[in-house]
C-alpha cells in the first residue's frame, strides 16, 4: 500500500463498474427510444432497438456474475457487495439525521440504498420484461400489467441513475477512485473514519500472485474467454453486415456488443495466462 494513497477499488471492481455503466447507458438509451413517443417517431427501427434493449438488459448482471465467479480476482468486489448489503444502525442514523453522521465502514447509508434499489429495480425489469418478451404463456391482462410495471420501474431507474451520476459528479474524489482505484488518506480519514482500508487492501496482496487451488479455473477461463472472443467476433461481423442471414445482420448495435464481448474474452484469457504463470 502506497503511503500517499489508499486503495478503495481494485481493478476487477472498476472494470465491472465501467462495463456495467456502459451497458446500462445502452439499456437506458434504447429504453428511452422505445418508450418516449417523440423519440420513437424519430428513431424508428423498432425491431433492432427491441433486440438491442433485450440483449443489453440481459447482459447487465454478466460482468458482476463473472467477477463473483472469477475466484481470487473477485475477492474485494464480493467483500464490498457483502458490506453494501448490510444495513446497520449507523446507516439508519445516516438516513434519518440531516447532519449525516459518519458512516460505519466503507459505505454510507445512501450508497447502500442505491445499490439495493439498483438490484430491486433490475429484478423487477427482468421479471416484467420477460413477461413482455416471452409473452405467449401470459394473458393480455398480465401483459398489460407487466408493461405497467416495466414503465414505472423504467422511470424509477432513470431517476436513480441520474441521482447516482449527479452524486458522483459532486464527489470528485470518489469519481477519481472509480477511475484509478485510489483515494487520498485525507479523504479516508475525513469521510470514512471507521473504514478499515488496510484489511481491504490486504486482500489485494493475498490475491496477487493468484494462488489457484481450483485447477479447473484456468481452463474455465480459457474456454469462456475463447468462446466470448469467437461469439463477439461473429457479432461484430453481423453488426457490420459482413456476415448476413440473421436477424442481427445490419444492426450496428451488434457490433458494439461484439466489441464488449471480445473485451470480456480478452480479460478472461489474460486472467488465464496469469493463473498459469502463477503456478
Amino acid at each position: 500500500v502506497s503511503a500517499f494513497t489508499v486503495s478503495r477499488f481494485d481493478r476487477a471492481t472498476r472494470v465491472v463498474h465501467w462495463v456495467t455503466a456502459a451497458d446500462a447507458a445502452l439499456v437506458l438509451a434504447t429504453a428511452t427510444a422505445l418508450y418516449v413517443p417523440e423519440i420513437s417517431a424519430r428513431v424508428g427501427r423498432r425491431a433492432g432497438l427491441m433486440e438491442a434493449h433485450l440483449i443489453s438488459g440481459l447482459f447487465l448482471p454478466v460482468p458482476l456474475l463473472f467477477a463473483m465467479a472469477a475466484g481470487p480476482a473477485g475477492v474485494r468486489l464480493r467483500r464490498d457487495l457483502t458490506e453494501l448489503s448490510r444495513w446497520r444502525a449507523a446507516d439508519r442514523r445516516w438516513l434519518r439525521r440531516r447532519d449525516r453522521p459518519m458512516p460505519e465502514g466503507k459505505y454510507n447509508g445512501g450508497q447502500k440504498l442505491v445499490t439495493a434499489l439498483f438490484a430491486a429495480l433490475f429484478v423487477m425489469q427482468l421479471l416484467s420484461g420477460s413477461v413482455m418478451y416471452w409473452h405467449d404463456p401470459f394473458s393480455a391482462a398480465s401483459r398489460t400489467g407487466a408493461t405497467f410495471v416495466h414503465d414505472w420501474a423504467y422511470l424509477a431507474l432513470a431517476a436513480v441513475v441520474i441521482g447516482h451520476v449527479a452524486k458522483a459528479l459532486q464527489e470528485p474524489e470518489l469519481m477519481h477512485a472509480m477511475r484509478s482505484g485510489e483515494v487520498s488518506p485525507d479523504w479516508a480519514r475525513r469521510e470514512r473514519p471507521s473504514w478499515d482500508h488496510d484489511a481491504d487492501a490486504a486482500h489485494d496482496e493475498a490475491s496477487e500472485p493468484i494462488v489457484d487451488d481450483r485447477g479447473g479455473l484456468m481452463w474455465l477461463r480459457v474456454i469462456g474467454g475463447a468462446l466470448a472472443c469467437v461469439v463477439g467476433a461473429v457479432w461484430i461481423l453481423q453488426g457490420l453486415d459482413i456476415v448476413t442471414g440473421s436477424g442481427m445482420s445490419g444492426h450496428a448495435v451488434w457490433a458494439v456488443f461484439g466489441v464488449i464481448l471480445v473485451g470480456l474474452g480478452v480479460v478472461l484469457l489474460r486472467a488465464a495466462v496469469r493463473t498459469r504463470s502463477a503456478r
Binding site: L34, Y35, V36, P37, E38, S40, A41, R42, V43, G44, R45, R46, A47, L81, L84, S85, R86, W87, R88, A89, A90, E104, K112, L113, T115, A116, L117, A119, A120, L121, V123, M124, L127, S128, V131, M132, Y133, H135, D136, P137, F138, S139, A140, A141, S142, R143, T144, G145, A146, T147, F148, V149, D151, W152, L155, S194, G247
Partner: protein
C-alpha cells in the same frame, strides 16, 4: 460509534430483491386494472395537455409510437393514393377524398391492444369498412388472402378473406376525433379491432388480393408472431377475445 460484539444488521439486498419480486408479481397481476382506473382519472388531462408530457406517464395509457424504419414515412392527403389490385375484377386507385367523402363511413370505438401489453382503451375510429372496398374492386374466387403494404416500404400484413370481411376491420382516416397523424400511421391506416396492434398496419399504401403467401404473412409474423392475431386467442392468449 462501534458497538461491541456482533452488531445486528439487516440483509438489505435480500430484502430489496424479495420485495421487488413481490411487488413485480403484484403489479403484473393487477397493473392492468390499476392502469384502467388511472387512465380514466387522467384522461381529461392527457387529452387536453398541449405539452404532451402527461403521455409519458405509464398510467396515462396512451399510444406508443412504433415504426420499423429509420424515418417516419410521409404522404400528404392530396398526394395520397390507395391501390387495390391483385386477384380483383377492377383494380382501384382511391384518393383521400374517396375514402373520407365518397365511400360509406364506418365508426367504431374499441381498445387498441399491443401484443406486448400496452393498451389504449376505447379509441374512436372512423374509416371505410374494408369489405366495402373489397366489394368495389370485386374479389375473384381464386383469392384467399388480403395482403397490405405500408408506404414505409418494409412493413406488410395480411388477413384471410373471412377476417378481412368483418365489420370491425376498417381503412381508417380519423382517430380520437381528428385526422390520423403521421406518427399514428396517417393519413390512412388499417385498424383491425379484434386483433393485436401489429395487424393494424400504419401508412397503408397498397392492398393486394393473393391466393398464397410468399412469406410468413407479415413483418412481425416473420419474427415469430402468430398469423392470426386475435386478442385473447393468439400468441399464447386463452381468454375471451375483447370484441365489443
Amino acid at each position: 460509534v462501534t458497538s461491541p460484539g456482533v452488531e445486528p444488521t439487516t440483509p438489505l439486498a435480500r430484502r430489496a430483491v424479495v420485495a421487488s419480486l413481490g411487488l413485480g408479481v403484484l403489479g403484473i397481476a393487477v397493473g392492468a386494472r390499476v392502469q384502467h382506473q388511472l387512465s380514466r382519472l387522467l384522461l381529461p388531462i392527457t387529452l387536453h395537455d398541449p405539452t404532451g408530457l402527461t403521455d409519458l406517464l405509464p398510467a396515462a395509457g396512451r399510444f406508443r409510437i412504433y415504426s420499423i424504419t429509420a424515418t417516419l414515412p410521409h404522404r400528404s392527403t392530396t398526394e395520397y393514393r390507395l391501390r387495390v389490385d391483385g386477384l380483383v375484377d377492377t383494380p382501384l386507385e382511391l384518393t383521400y377524398d374517396d375514402l373520407t367523402l365518397r365511400l360509406p363511413q364506418r365508426r367504431l370505438r374499441h381498445d387498441f391492444q399491443c401484443v406486448t401489453g400496452w393498451r389504449v382503451e376505447s379509441v374512436p375510429w372512423v374509416g371505410v369498412a374494408l369489405h366495402d372496398v373489397l366489394d368495389a374492386a370485386g374479389v375473384r374466387s381464386t383469392a384467399t388472402r388480403v395482403r397490405f403494404h405500408s408506404f414505409d416500404g418494409v412493413y406488410t400484413e395480411s388477413l384471410d378473406l373471412e377476417q378481412a370481411r368483418r365489420d370491425d376491420v376498417v381503412i381508417a382516416h380519423t382517430m380520437e376525433g381528428g385526422p390520423i397523424t403521421r406518427e399514428h400511421g396517417g393519413p390512412v391506416r388499417l385498424y383491425v379491432a379484434p386483433m393485436f396492434g401489429y395487424k393494424s398496419l400504419k401508412w397503408l399504401d397498397h392492398i393486394e388480393l393473393v391466393d398464397h403467401l410468399e412469406d410468413h404473412g407479415g413483418y412481425w409474423e416473420g419474427r415469430g408472431y402468430d398469423l392470426d392475431a386475435w386478442v385473447g386467442r393468439s400468441n399464447g392468449g386463452h381468454e375471451a377475445p375483447t370484441v365489443k
